[in-house]
Structure formats: structure tokens, C-alpha cells
């Protein structure tokens, strides 16, 4: 098996606030292989954005990364980096595309210059070379009439075009890893489809790894090779995209999949997850999802479940997978998915 290019081990991040210490990430492990797309799914406050910001050292000054955390990029442990060390990582090895293209562009600099800047900084190009390369990159990400628009300012462009520019900037210094944090959430669906295609095409061309952060399971189904589901600062389930969508094991994943309608969901069959996510100022003792979980066992309120292995690529942190746990029937929507799984993915014998 190919060695991962990024390994995150036991990552914990907390924030010092006036109200106390918020434990935003509470021990997260995952790895990323070359050329693959890992989607991190979760709702706001689940820690998915903090995780990725930590990978780039972009957290607010009140954040602290726990000592035993490791973020291994090759031989380097990014978790121990000081501010001055980050320069050689940001943009050069790991680059990021944010949700809002307007706030991630500099309104006072032409788009061409913004794309050229990382090339000069990280690849040592002259300004002439970088301008040429910027033009090529603008064409790559599908900006029409690039020659005519290279000296435009961001405000002259639509949201979709701006997001293309942001992607071009992220790709400029040829990073190994692209983090896309809700890159299409602010866009209309038709534009979303275009932006996803741009990211996929560039990923293929460059054999780049992508971490895709989103709460939209439709987008995940489209882009992901593997999926990690986050809840209350922890990963609760991870597996290949097919394992997560057709054979999910964690009740939170069940809840997410049955609380989002598709265009063929009949009225009355939408299952809502009751309650709201826990306050991470005071993380609960057991499984953080237990209070909202119809399938919670007594032990869920007492003890944090470990990861149980479902397959070589699939694991879930739920006591339901313990051999002593009672057998439960998942919600209807999930049973349908599991039937599809048995028909199409489980080999006979």
C-alpha cells in the first residue's frame, strides 16, 4: 500500500475564551494518500474547519494545539511549527480555498498579480515568467478571455469567476495538497457544479490530494474517495465513500443521511435529528452524540466508544458495534441503503 502523504495523529486543539476552554478538536486521526480526495463532513461547530486551519497554522492566537498532536507531512511535524516555519508550507505544499471568494481575494490587487505572487515567492519565477504562467493557469481553471481579464480587480467579477480565481491562486505554487473548505457553499447549484469540475480536473492533472470540507452530502457523494464524519470535535466514522453512504454504522451518520431530503423523498418521511450539538466548553463524558441518539445505549452516556473496525478501510466509534451490543434496526432510509450495499458491493460467499 502506498504511504500517505499526510498523517494526522491524535490532534487536539482548544481555544481559550472568556467563558473557558473550548475543546474544539478532541483527538482526531486521519491520513491522506497521494491523488485522493478525502471529504470531511460535519455541521458547524463539529471541528472540521478548525482541523483544516490547524493543517495550515491559521488558527486564531487563542488556539493551542496539544503537545502530543502530530501532523506529519513527509518528515516534518507541522504541529510543532513556529510562525516563521509556516511560510514554506502555506501555498507551497498545502494550499487552501475558502468559502467566500470575496473575502479571500485582495480587493486592491489585480487578479493576475494575485495569481502570480505565489509563483514568484515559492517557485522563484521572474515577474515576466509568472505573468505568463498566471495566464495559463487562468485558462486552466476556465476563466474565459483570460488575456483580457488578467488586469481586472475582484469586484469586477461574479462569485463563480472569483472562486475560479481563488482556485488559481491556490494552485499557483503547485501544492501537493489542496484544502477546499466549503468552496461552493456560497454559490448557486449550477456554479457549484462548475467549480467542483474545475477542482476535479486540476486534481487529476496534477495528481494532487484534496481535503474537501462540506456539510452537503450530495457534494461529498460526487467528489470523495474517502469520507470522515465529524461530530463535536471527533471523527465518529470513516470509510470509503461507498461504505459511508451505503453501509454506515454510526447513528450520527444514519441521522445525517436520513435528515437530508433528495428530490424523491416523500413528504413526512424526513427524519430529523432531535436536539442540538453539545457545548464543547463542557464536552460530555461519554459519546457526545448520545443525548440526540435514539439508539444510545447506557454505556454511551458513560464511556467514549473506541473505533470498531468494520473493514480494512472502514471504522466507526459506536458501542453498537461491540459484540455485546443488542442488534438494532437502523432508520428506513438506511435500511434501503444497506440493501443496495448487499446487492452491489458484497461478494457472494
Amino acid at each position: 500500500m502506498q504511504a500517505p502523504i499526510l498523517q494526522v495523529k491524535n490532534l487536539s486543539v482548544s481555544f481559550q475564551t472568556y467563558a473557558g476552554v473550548v475543546q474544539a478538536i478532541r483527538g482526531v486521526d486521519f491520513d491522506l494518500k497521494k491523488g485522493e480526495t478525502l471529504a470531511i463532513v460535519g455541521e458547524s461547530g463539529s471541528g472540521k474547519s478548525v482541523t483544516t486551519k490547524t493543517l495550515l497554522g491559521l488558527n486564531a492566537p487563542n488556539a493551542s494545539v496539544k503537545k502530543e498532536s502530530q501532523i506529519l507531512l513527509g518528515q516534518d511535524n507541522l504541529a510543532s511549527y513556529m510562525e516563521k516555519d509556516w511560510d514554506q508550507v502555506r501555498g507551497a505544499k498545502i494550499a487552501m480555498v475558502f468559502q467566500d471568494p470575496m473575502t479571500s481575494l485582495d480587493p486592491t490587487m489585480t487578479i493576475g498579480k494575485q495569481i502570480a505572487e505565489p509563483m514568484e515567492k515559492h517557485l522563484g519565477m521572474s515577474s515576466k515568467e509568472s505573468e505568463k504562467a498566471a495566464l495559463t493557469l487562468m485558462k486552466d481553471v476556465g476563466i474565459p478571455d483570460a488575456e483580457k481579464h488578467i488586469n481586472d480587480y475582484p469586484h469586477q467579477w461574479s462569485g463563480g469567476m472569483r472562486q475560479r480565481a481563488v482556485i488559481a491562486i491556490a494552485l499557483a505554487a503547485e501544492p501537493d495538497i489542496l484544502i477546499a473548505d466549503e468552496p461552493t457553499t456560497a454559490l448557486d447549484v449550477t456554479i457549484q457544479a462548475q467549480i467542483i469540475n474545475v477542482i476535479k480536473a486540476q486534481q487529476k492533472k496534477r495528481d494532487m490530494s484534496v481535503i474537501f470540507i462540506t456539510h452537503d452530502l450530495g457534494v461529498v457523494a460526487n467528489v470523495a474517495d474517502r469520507v470522515a464524519v465529524m461530530y463535536a470535535g471527533k471523527i465518529v466514522e470513516k470509510g470509503t465513500v461507498n461504505e459511508i453512504f451505503y453501509n454506515p454504522k454510526h447513528p450520527y451518520t444514519w441521522g445525517l443521511l436520513s435528515s437530508m431530503p433528495t428530490t424523491s423523498t416523500a413528504l413526512g418521511s424526513l427524519h430529523a435529528i432531535p436536539g442540538t450539538p453539545p457545548d464543547l466548553l463542557y464536552p460530555p463524558k461519554g459519546d457526545a452524540f448520545a443525548n440526540r441518539n435514539d439508539y444510545a445505549l447506557d454505556i454511551d452516556h458513560e464511556k467514549q466508544p473506541p473505533f470498531f473496525k468494520v473493514s480494512d478501510t472502514h471504522e466507526a466509534a459506536t458501542w453498537l458495534l461491540d459484540e455485546r451490543a443488542p442488534k438494532v434496526e437502523p432508520p428506513m432510509e438506511i435500511q434501503k441503503r444497506q440493501a443496495y450495499w448487499r446487492e452491489n458491493f458484497v461478494k457472494e460467499g
Binding site: 455541521e43 449550477t190 441521522g255 431530503p261
Partner: protein
């Protein structure tokens, strides 16, 4: 599908609305829009940003004045309403907003926020009666008495939206416009609010105009759906007609772009692109009924093609 004998709650006819009229940045936000909303149904309005869906919702509540066309509520023309009639209308038609934080007064307790609604509805001042009524409203939206004395900032987004809904219902409306009521909420909470809206409709016989950009949610909640593009309605039909038998190329393109939580389907997913140039060919297009209740914006020759297509499906 709506009962053919159902009463029209809202009738919108040939409404055109232009912003910045006569100026350089003139913008025709609504262009000859017509449709009816029947009593007790949910009419969903979909379209991309800038399509005019919010403008349309606000026009129906008389927050904007159209250039031409007519909007009637219970048969009464709203553009010509006098002060007293308007007060009446404002009680019967309520709005639930996208951002529950911005739509609640942060200096009032929940009980005062709901109380303002009760004042508006002319509810008796008797303290005990009021307390009971407020409790009833809170329970209706899944909150309880403890919440009454708290301020909006003490609530989560989903709970704030519940308060917004309770506030809208305090005046006993018949018609509610929900403009992106769930897009600011966490995914796991969105379904709670949508289910609540559906339940309240059932219990109180409400009529909804549901505006959202989440196409799957609109389909889920709506009986009938209208598709807006650049200020024009391009297709109207039952939720099934529009989503499963879309005829207008814009509707098809819009729907094809919705990703579904199904990796096998998604990996083979093809998005149909839309070429808007044909809309600008100068030909006159009217809403044509291609099957019962299913209207498409088309020229007579396009309408023939759509009808043929429709027959193939049947």
C-alpha cells in the same frame, strides 16, 4: 395536487417590477410574472441568486410596489388597500425570515416578542390569559415555558428560528411566506424546522409560499413549484411535474446540477448546461399549459415540442 375547487388565496397577475427605473443601473427584477397560490397548499419558488425570488416574496407582502400588474389576497387588490385593510392584511400574511438573529429584537424577552404579536392581533390584555397563550405558542413550536423569560441570544439558531415561527403565528395568519427559513441552520437542525413547518400547516391549515435555493428541500415541502429565471417564471407545475418531467431547458439544467447523496449515481452524474441565448432571440414567449397544471414559458412552436415530449412520458 391541489383540489380544483380550492380557493385562490393569492393571485399574482402580470407583475413587473423594475429597480432604479430610468437610471443607468435599471434592473427588471420581475418580468410579467403570474401565478396563483391556493388555500392550504405550499407553493415553492426556486431560482438562483438574482432570479427575483425574494423580490417576488416581498412584493406579495406589499413591501415593494410593482410597476404594473395586480396582486390579490383573498380577492382583494393589495396595491390599492387602505390603511385599515392593510393592517388586516398584514395580520393575515406573515413572513419567516432567513436570519432568525436579525429578525428578533435582542432587547426583548421571548415572552415580550410574542406579546407584541398578540398586541398586533388585538389579544386581550389579561395577564393570565396572555401567559397561557404564549405558552401555547411556545409549545406549538417545540419550546417550553422556561424559554419565555429568556432573550434571543440565549438560544441556538434552530431555536431562534422556532421563536421567529411562533412570532409569525402569534397573529393567527392564514398565509406565511418563508424566505430561506432554513439556510442559516445546521444541517441536522434543518429537518426539524422543515418538519415543524409541515406540522403547523397541517394543524392550522396554513398556506405557504416557500422560497429557498435548496432544491431538494423545496421539492420535499411543496405541492406546486415555480421556477424563476432572470425575473421570469419559466415553468410552473406540481412538484412531481417540475422535478421529474421538467420541460424548460433552464429547469432541466438547474435540476441536473443538484448533487444527490448517492455516490454511484453521482460518479456518473452529468450536468446539463444551459444556453440562455435562445431566450434573447426576440420571440414572444407566453406561459403555455402543456398538461393539466403544468405551464412552460414557450413560443407556440416550442410549446408543440414540449407537448409531444409530454405525451411520450405518458
Amino acid at each position: 395536487m391541489q383540489n380544483p375547487a380550492a380557493k385562490k388565496q393569492v393571485a399574482i397577475k402580470n407583475v413587473t417590477l423594475t429597480f432604479n427605473k430610468g437610471k443607468k443601473n435599471e434592473n427588471k427584477a420581475l418580468d410579467n410574472v403570474s401565478f396563483d397560490i391556493y388555500e392550504g397548499e405550499t407553493f415553492g419558488l426556486v431560482g438562483e441568486s438574482g432570479s427575483g425570488k425574494t423580490t417576488l416574496g416581498r412584493s406579495v407582502l406589499k413591501l415593494y410596489e410593482p410597476d404594473s400588474g395586480s396582486i390579490t389576497f383573498d380577492g382583494q387588490e393589495i396595491t390599492r388597500m387602505k390603511r385599515k385593510e392593510l393592517g388586516d392584511f398584514r395580520r393575515k400574511a406573515q413572513m419567516i425570515f432567513q436570519d432568525p438573529q436579525a429578525s428578533l429584537n435582542g432587547r426583548l424577552t421571548v415572552s415580550n416578542i410574542l406579546g407584541e404579536g398578540l398586541d398586533e392581533a388585538g389579544y386581550p390584555k389579561d395577564k393570565e390569559k396572555r401567559r397561557k397563550k404564549i405558552l401555547e405558542l411556545l409549545e406549538m413550536v417545540g419550546l417550553n415555558e422556561d424559554h419565555a423569560s429568556r432573550y434571543p441570544h440565549e438560544f441556538s439558531g434552530g431555536q431562534k428560528q422556532r421563536i421567529g415561527i411562533a412570532r409569525a403565528l402569534a397573529v393567527k395568519p392564514k398565509f406565511v411566506i418563508a424566505d430561506e427559513p432554513i439556510s442559516a441552520l445546521d444541517v441536522s437542525v434543518q429537518a426539524q424546522v422543515v418538519n415543524l413547518l409541515a406540522q403547523l400547516q397541517k394543524d392550522h391549515g396554513l398556506t405557504y409560499l416557500f422560497i429557498a435555493h435548496d432544491l431538494a428541500m423545496v421539492k420535499y415541502l411543496s405541492d406546486r413549484i415555480g421556477v424563476l429565471h432572470w425575473g421570469k417564471l419559466v415553468e410552473i407545475g406540481t412538484a412531481d411535474q417540475v422535478y421529474h418531467h421538467a420541460l424548460h431547458p433552464y429547469t432541466k439544467s438547474l435540476l441536473s446540477a443538484v448533487p444527490e447523496p448517492d455516490p454511484v449515481k453521482e460518479k456518473a452524474h452529468h450536468v446539463t448546461s444551459y444556453d440562455p441565448s435562445f431566450e434573447k432571440d426576440g420571440q414572444d414567449r407566453q406561459m403555455v399549459e402543456v398538461e393539466s397544471g403544468h405551464f412552460v414559458l414557450a413560443t407556440p412552436s416550442e410549446a408543440e415540442k414540449y407537448k409531444e415530449k409530454q405525451n411520450e412520458w405518458q
